[in-house]
Amino acid sequence: MSHKILVYDSEGAHKLCMATSNRPSVLLHPPLPEVEEALAPLARVRSEPRLGDFLARLGDQEWRAAVLGLVGDAQEWALLPRIPSALSSGVLVVTHPDPTVNRVLEAEAAGAAALLSHPPDPHRLRAFLEPYLVEEGDHPIPPRVAGEERVVGTSPALTEAYRTVARVADSMTTVLISGDSGTGKEEVARALHRRSGRRAQPFVAVNCAALPEGLLEAELFGYERGAFTGAVGRSDGRFGRAHGGTLFLDEVGEMGPLLQAKLLRALEGGEIERLGSGETVRVDVRVVAATNRSLEERVEDGGFRADLLYRLSVVRVHLPPLRDRTQDLLPLAEHFAALFGERHGRPVRAFSRLAVEALRRRPWPGNVRELRNVLDRATLLARGGVIRSVDLGDPGAPPGLAAGGGGWEDGYPPHLSLREVEERHLRRVLSHTGGHLGEAATILGIHRNTMTAKVREYEIDPRDSDARIEGEMGG
């Protein structure tokens, strides 16, 4: 995209250049030579010494960014709400010598992306602005249709999974859904329920890996008051609550042997017994189970009952990992961006090209769940309705770093020294391993002692989370 630009020349004279250029432009008030110098490689900077002129010009131009220093009295600050909403696709940064909480909020209300201390640190400002200067929104995100329920994705694997769902939904057949963590197994289970004759009855889910065995038994089958320590009341259990509907047993492979036996009896006889009660209760429940590991292998190593596996897996549905169905990635990203944009009241209209590239590059070990989380956060961070690569986050990035791309190929900006890249990468890997040095050393292919030495050299606290930046807006 090209822009009309205002050129700032080094002798202090400004002239309007009506030609088009691919270089983004930044409007700055008051003039700060260090900031101009820092931004020069990325953008054309127009410094405007008079506040009134700055405000007037803000509306004339398609500025990609504007930096407004309000260093005068309270009257000057009071002008903030009058800033024209001309930066719909750009970013406004306000600076002030005393960025108090109230000022941060007032700046935010005026549409500013950040309130920084004045004068701003040129390098920090550049790092903040960089993604806005180099990325535009050129992959539109279709708006969400209210109340729409649809399968997102067109890959053959997903299509096949949902074909199976359609075929068996309206029966009592047990279904076993397999796939890695985060592939969307519960969504498939819900689709089975929605398309069945039980749709008006409850869909009840239980995650077998989340609960210790004793607690899982109580949750599944219910309990009477005082049946065990902590049973402060009576519970019908998930089987009881799912009566007439569907019970989804997620991560069923994590169930212990005693509970497997009890589940098998419930499946075969359609009866359960609450803990602490001698009564049996008949339940009409369709069971759908899911697993993220091979149950056949669990049967082989004696960890899972073969008869229960047979009972649970009359029909099977498999969901491959996201990396193996790349054609679903963008539709899912668009879906989540629209969903969370709506939910957070921050609608987004496009991904930048680099954001799309970043999405495609990531390995997504957490599959759809990870993608969902990334987009949840990105919609909060996005400015001007555009999700940029920086908004997709990088949990290992040091504070203030424009992370996850931002105009560079490998996740690091090109002006960094090797030493800086090493430090950043060490931090990223340590964040990934939760601060575990041994694991980080394995990933990096270095000896643990070398890892320890490097952590010392760069003064990295492996357990530290990212520091917060005072005055900067988080969302």
């Binding site: 519960e186 989340a210 402060v232 990870e370 530290d464 989370s465 005072e470």
Partner: protein, 452 residues
């Protein structure tokens, strides 16, 4: 390593706990394993991982033997200090030095409190109280106050009330004005724990009067330290009474007095107490939270964390993170709230502040519930187990049961919810916590309010 040695797996904490007998003597080792444990990366993206509690964290087997030796050495040093202090008490008594006996006893109270051994600390403080009476020591008020503080920490609020009152009177009788001020502040804090706001304000007022009356005799820095905490505490009571404007006035006074005023940068006011910045921002954040100004609250809590610096922030940072998590949760930012909750959990476990874990798990339960997880209650179940296993203060159990009641209600388990709520109320009544007239919820602000 011998090639034939099979690779050693990392074990889950809950597995290790199940292997060993429940014994207090093993606590130092288990505490160390908790502090050095880490989340299981294999569970990172599963729902089970999202709902994982401390028990599902992994303990690495590398260097375990050395760990055992190191923990044993640390424990030996602690036991040695403890016994030497007992010897010092006996020796001072044999020499007829009553003040020496009191001094040795109170020093050990401080050390034990620092180690989180509040039961032991309370026993030593009570021994000190007896000795101050017997020897006519001038530190009688101080000994009573420390016993009161231990009782409060243990959740024995009724005992703490009377001990603080006694400490206040005895300090006045002994002419120890600062001790009397601190005891009155502590007594007010217990009233806050019990949701008795007017009573708390009365005690804080007494403390302030004592400071003003004796300001000439108090060193300025000490008077300032006492004042700003009282202003801060008055901010809490006014906030809880819904008097937000006057609460803000108290917070502002606290900020100005401590030197942590927001305008410090511009006005060039000297920041005299770095801890004040954290506490004032945190308190102010809670005021904004109560007002429903969630974004303001969030920024206040973030500033409190920034004031803590980039290093390990101590137990206070756990509390700030929990507050920040709540501010994010109430804005519907469940993902960030969960992350902040996990940071708080990691920090509490690393720092050995297990008493903070129940409040973190209450936050994580609320976050998981808001994200539609039916297993959200697992955090509360683990929190209740922790309270019982570790003998944590009973209000932790009550607050957790209250959260559980809300979750059970939301799941449609109304009967279980009502029972949990009633169990919580019984504990609150036992603690002397004032319940709201409609008894829908209690009025306690557990653990808020601080003494110098």
């Amino acid at each position: 390593m011998n090639d034939a040695t099979p690779p050693r797996r990392s074990l889950r904490l809950e597995g290790i706990l199940a292997l060993l007998p429940a014994s207090d003597a093993l606590r130092p080792l288990l505490d160390h394993l908790v502090e050095t444990s880490r989340p299981d990366p294999a569970r990172r993206w599963s729902v089970g991982g999202e709902l994982g509690t401390a028990g599902t964290r992994l303990v690495d087997m590398d260097g375990l033997r050395e760990t055992g030796v190191s923990v044993a050495r640390t424990e030996a040093r602690r036991v040695e200090r403890h016994l030497q202090r007992a010897v010092a008490v006996i020796a001072a008594a044999a020499e007829g030095r009553g003040e020496g006996v009191v001094e040795a006893l109170l020093e050990e109270v401080g050390a034990l409190e620092g180690e989180g051994r509040l039961e032991d600390a309370r026993a030593w403080a009570e021994a000190a109280v007896r000795e101050t009476f017997a020897s006519g020591s001038s530190r009688g008020g101080e000994a009573l106050r420390l016993a009161a503080r231990c009782a409060r920490g243990l959740g024995d609020l009724q005992a703490a009330r009377s001990l603080y009152e006694e400490a206040h009177l005895r300090s006045l009788a002994l002419g120890r004005r600062v001790d009397a001020v601190i005891a009155a502040t502590g007594r007010g804090n217990v009233a806050v724990d019990q949701g008795r706001w007017e009573e708390a304000e009365e005690w804080y007022g007494k403390a302030l009067t004592l400071i003003e009356e004796g300001s000439a005799a108090l060193p300025p820095a000490e008077a300032r330290g006492l004042r700003w905490r009282l202003y801060q505490n008055l901010g809490i009571t006014h906030r809880e009474r819904g008097a937000f404007d006057s609460a803000e006035g108290w917070y502002r006074r606290a900020a100005e007095t401590s030197g942590a005023a927001e305008t410090s940068g511009a006005a060039g006011v000297e920041v005299r107490d770095p801890a004040a910045g954290v506490e004032v921002e945190n308190g102010w954040g809670q005021l904004e939270l109560a007002r429903g100004e969630l974004r303001k609250a969030e920024l206040r809590f973030r500033r409190a964390l920034a004031a803590l610096g980039t290093g390990r922030g101590g137990e206070g940072s756990v509390a700030v993170r929990v507050n920040l998590g709540e501010a994010l949760l109430r804005q519907g930012r469940t993902l960030e709230a969960g992350e902040v909750g996990r940071e708080a959990e990691a920090e509490a476990l690393r720092g050995g502040w297990l008493r903070r874990v129940p409040e973190i798990y209450r936050l994580l339960a609320d976050v998981a519930h808001a994200r539609g997880e039916p297993e959200a209650f697992v955090f509360l179940d683990r929190a209740l187990a922790l309270v019982r296993e570790r003998g944590l203060p009973p209000y932790e159990e009550a607050l957790t049961l209250e959260t559980l009641a809300g979750l059970r209600d939301a799941e449609g388990e109304v009967e279980a919810g009502a029972d949990a709520r009633e169990a919580a109320r019984q504990i609150f009544r036992r603690l002397g916590v004032r319940l709201d007239p409609n008894e829908d919820h209690r009025s306690s602000r557990k653990g808020e309010g601080d003494e110098p």
